[in-house]
């Protein structure tokens, strides 16, 4: 079992069109580094200067990681990570 990461349409150019990829790591940051090995260029779209990019939202089991520990948030096998571009409602 690994960690499931859902990728928004706009970033699927980095995953050969896959809407979901898998990775490992003990933190979100490590997970992104792991994904970078197989999906080069993806990490840079998500992370800038050691922090999540402003218009990218990441959820761990549906909770916004900015309210957990950001890139240092612990992750484990079976977790579901969702990446979405910032789109407002209202």
């Amino acid at each position: 079992m690994a960690i499931e990461v859902r990728i928004p349409t706009i970033l699927r150019t980095y995953t050969d069109g896959a809407k979901q990829v898998e990775g490992t790591g003990s933190t979100l940051g490590e997970l992104f580094t792991d994904l970078e090995q197989r999906h080069g260029g993806l990490q840079d779209r998500l992370v800038d200067g050691g922090a999540l990019r402003r218009f990218v939202n990441v959820y761990l089991n549906d909770e916004d990681v900015r309210f957990l520990d950001g890139l240092a948030t612990p992750v484990k096998d079976g977790d579901k990570v969702t990446v979405l571009p910032a789109v407002a409602g209202g």
Binding site: I10, R66, P85, V87, G89, G90
Partner: protein, 318 residues
């Protein structure tokens, strides 16, 4: 209750307990409450923001009879503004995503508003972008801009927040849908000032892929009003969870609410379960932003959950 006119009847909405949905409804345990914002002049929480934004614009001398107001909206703000515009003699033009329910369109037209549709892909981001473009081309029009207008937040700081605390001094959590962020910022700031330790929780609707179909990541948009430090947590809620909970509100408590209320309830139920597990007392208020009337055509209230989910795919359901 008696008022001189409809506009004066704004707010002071009921807070009702949810004894069947609450894990332990007895006082001193874990209770859920719903603040019924459909009991506002045009039927949604947006009446508060709309009235305050227009009042401020009038005070600032920006509006006079015959003025044209322009606003990006997925529906409720447009409807609220349309009513006030009608009464005050303003023209209203709304920019609204095409993937919103037909009822919203009908209500806007009924109040005399003009609608400019924005592409479904990109949701409200696109509506904002198109509205900003049109505003630049028509400098004499007034864009109140609910995503950045402090009067939106102030409406909740001055009315919604105080009502909540007056009705439920023992409040521990406030949960609402996240859109412009006005409700959460206004209520959040007020409650945090008066009730240290209170938790302010956002339930963010998670739409289908189409709505997130931006052309590039730089088309991402965060409302200017949003101040992350006011929130305690933020949850993403799928359409199927939102619809399931909206139906539970009807079947368990008799409350006919819009789908964003289901999203907020979903987050609220998660908070309640956590409080029970932690042996903590909780009084959790869930904001019901509007009634279900405008969403009947979406099919969310009939058929199986799977059918409802499929029908909502691609729609801006909150």
């Amino acid at each position: 209750m008696r008022y001189d006119n409809l506009l004066d009847s704004l707010g002071h909405t009921p807070m009702v307990g949810l004894p069947r949905l609450s894990p332990s409804p007895a006082e001193g345990d874990v209770r859920l409450w719903a603040k019924l914002e459909d009991r506002n002049p045009t039927g949604s929480v947006k009446d508060r923001a709309a009235f305050f934004m227009i009042a401020q614009a009038e005070k600032d001398g920006l509006l006079s009879p015959g003025s044209t107001i322009l606003e990006p909206t997925s529906g409720n703000t447009g409807i609220a503004l349309a009513m006030v515009a009608k009464l005050r003699g303003y023209q209203l033009i709304v920019v609204m995503p095409e993937n919103t329910s037909s009822e919203r369109r009908l209500l806007l037209e009924m109040y005399g508003a003009q609608i400019i549709g924005s592409p479904a892909a990109g949701g409200s981001n696109e509506a904002v972008r198109v509205a900003k473009q049109i505003a630049a081309e028509h400098p004499d029009w007034v864009m109140l801009y609910q995503y950045g207008n402090e009067a939106n937040v102030r409406a909740h700081y001055e009315t919604t927040g105080p009502e909540l605390l007056a009705d439920l001094p023992e409040i521990t959590h406030f949960v609402a849908g996240l859109g412009t962020t006005g409700t959460l910022m206004g209520v959040g700031r007020y409650l945090r000032e008066h009730k240290p330790g209170v938790k302010i929780v956002a339930a963010e609707p998670r739409y289908g892929e189409l709505v997130y179909g931006l052309r590039n990541v730089d088309e991402g948009f965060v409302p200017e009003l949003y101040d992350e430090s006011v929130l305690t947590s933020r949850f993403s809620v799928s359409s199927v969870d939102a619809v399931r909970r909206t139906r539970e509100l009807i079947s368990a408590e008799g409350i006919f609410a819009g789908i964003s209320a289901g999203a907020a309830l979903h987050a609220g139920l998660g908070l309640a379960a956590k409080a029970v597990a932690d042996h903590q007392r909780a009084d959790i208020v869930v904001l019901v932003a509007d009634g279900g009337w405008k969403y009947l055509s979406t099919g969310a209230y009939s058929g199986t959950l799977e059918e409802a989910e499929a029908r909502l795919e691609g729609q801006l359901w909150a």
